[in-house]
Amino acid sequence: MGLYRVVAVVSYRRGLKDPEAETIYRDLILRHGYSAVKEVRVGKQFTLLVEAESPERAVNYVKEICDKLMIYNPVIHELYVTIHA
């Protein structure tokens, strides 16, 4: 058994509007002249400390939690789960 830090990121599916990202990009970043930035996306990050037998199991455990407990809504969100470096 080990302790793993698993990171789950939930963001709007591509193609859907992301008002927060667009506002930050337009009214903050571009307005202040940081024009080398071409796009901004925003997501919510959940970091879970999980006790598991292997990193793979830890990741799957978190994936299951996200699905079953509806931490995200697959209709509108993308979910991306990784183990923390």
Partner: protein, 728 residues
Amino acid sequence: MPLSREEIEEIKSILSREPTLEELAMFEAQWSEHCSYKSSRRLLRLLPTAGRNVLIGPGRDAPAVEVFPGVAVVFKIESHNHPSAVDPYNGAATGIGGIVRDILTLGAKPIALLDMLYLGDLRDSRAKWLAKGIVKGISDYGNRIGIPTVAGDTWFDSSFNTQPLVNVACVGIAKTEELVRDRPAPRDAILVIGNPTGRDGLLGSSFASKPLSDNPSEDIGAVQVADPLMEKILIDSILELARKKLVKFVKDLGGGGLTTAVAEVAADFDLGAELRLDRLHLRTELTPLEILVSESQERMMLVVDKEKLADVVAVLEKYDVPRSLIGFFDGSGRIKAYYENKLVADIPAKELAKPRDIWRLSRPPVELVKLLNPVSDIPVVSVAEALDSLLSSPNIASKKWIYEQYDHEVGIRTILKPGFGDAAVLRLDTGDRRGIAVKGDANPRYTAIDPFNGAANSVAECYRNLVAVGSTPVAFVDEPNAGNPEKLEHFWYFEMMVKGIAWMTNELGIPVVGGKVSFYNEDYRGRQVKPTATIVGVGAIEDVGRVKSIDLKHEGSTILVVGTTYPELGGTEYLARVHGIEAGGVPTPRPSSELRNASYIAKLIDDEIALSVHDIGLGGLAVAIAEMAVLSDIGVEIDIEKIPHRGCSRLDEILFSETQARYFIEVKPERVEKALELASALGTTAAVVAKTTGRKFYTVKLGSITVIEKHLDYLRELHEESLRKTMV
């Protein structure tokens, strides 16, 4: 709902040729149930829409009534049931967005929102997830656009577990002469402003016009992310344009998108239009077909006199509103859409805008008899325990957990705030003390058992709520939420609900100035949710300083009950919650008692005899008086023997029957005689039944026997905390 074969044939004969793909999509969007009312129009004609105060009846995006000379109220209801079933947060939020834009089309300033929520059983995890998301969506959106959510209605029932009903309403005000209602004319410019158009919400109206698929994540087309900031910018800029009289006509780009907006205006004013689709501002590359029918949120269409175009653009510039000039109206009577100089659609506007009515058949379901027969042999239970279980029932318990998440104060107009009055009261700021009352109501259980009488009772309840605060009801809007109109038995419920609304509003003499219809409210197995008739009403108030709240004002007051109690336990919260029975007919609608008792209440408020007023609704007498006591922390003692009744033979019949047309009023002892005199003069039944006490107890007596006695703190905990506890 894809077009039927007959409809396609009809389209061919309208065009005298094969339709292009773009044209087919336009017909599909516009002829969807959601946009065209093809199944419902025939029945909706039964509703009384005319009245002395009606400035604009059904037909435009929102109706307008003149509540006081020169003061117009614009209000409307909308459902976002289907979007909320797959994405509760954005679904509910965009429902608010849509209804606000309807109000804006007349140049009225939105001053209040209402949300009528029919949610699933909170013990079900999906139902709870939906409920939380819906409330959060309304809260985040309504709060951000700065319109207070002042009232609503909330109900929980397992039939809504996967398909909740999210009905929202918005109320706006304007000076009558400032309503935006010029006639669009040939050569007027068509501007589309707001969000860039995207693929999100493609054919959303057709989505709302068919049953849910069993895998909700497939319904991507209908999903839209709400953008309250853009909505707020639209509100600010449109109100400025209206104030400066720069626009002739405004329309929401809602269901059916650009197609519906342009086709309806053209059809209504005998115009045609030429559109340049490639000029529209987009968020992603779209085909002309997609541009025509996308339902991206937070967009509006402005019809502008060419001469004023520059002034309009200056205002839009100030607020950084994205915009495009996409074409002009003309006198051709045809909608012609070009994409990069290629004609992609050419349709006669009138035929597009108004499909032929569909004559739907209906049939009462066979189980109906069982639901309507009186329930006999109801076991005798402890009424004291029954009271606890009613006060903590999520349908009756305080909705504080919900309405405290809504900014109900912004605008500084909210005189009677949620939880304090049977209706919310807003001042109008017309330089005097005038105001309006608003409330929305429905009882899904009543309408599921008996759609005609149930819907009539929704109207009556809304009416009483408006009367109880001291307003004169002026107008209603309605929203029947039904199942699949293609199914005879589902359509029967719709038909009966509309007839019930029509009958009761006619009896009460209050017009139904607008509304919305929602069909296909089924779960994935094709079972309809409890069909529900939601009514929102507006009442006029001369002096907001004199409105009545439900909390008791003094110790040592006298409490009167108005109206006779009948043994009507069928369909009640008591029968459902305590005995698990949802049948037995529903309480009889009593329009003449409603009218009589309402004028009595109005008189008592006018003559400053009533200190507080509460209508008696869900849970009956026992619950209504408990709510008054708990809110004020003033004890009450009620004697059942004194309650005027006809035919009641059991305690529970008196205490929990939901007989219509009843109220409690608190009166100073020295005014009781006057109150009773007035009652007999008006032919109203009123009787002294209770008094307020210095003890913090809720006591029910039967003569000298104490039937129930509970500490107010205990009851308050049940009433105020039950919903919050189930929500975590």
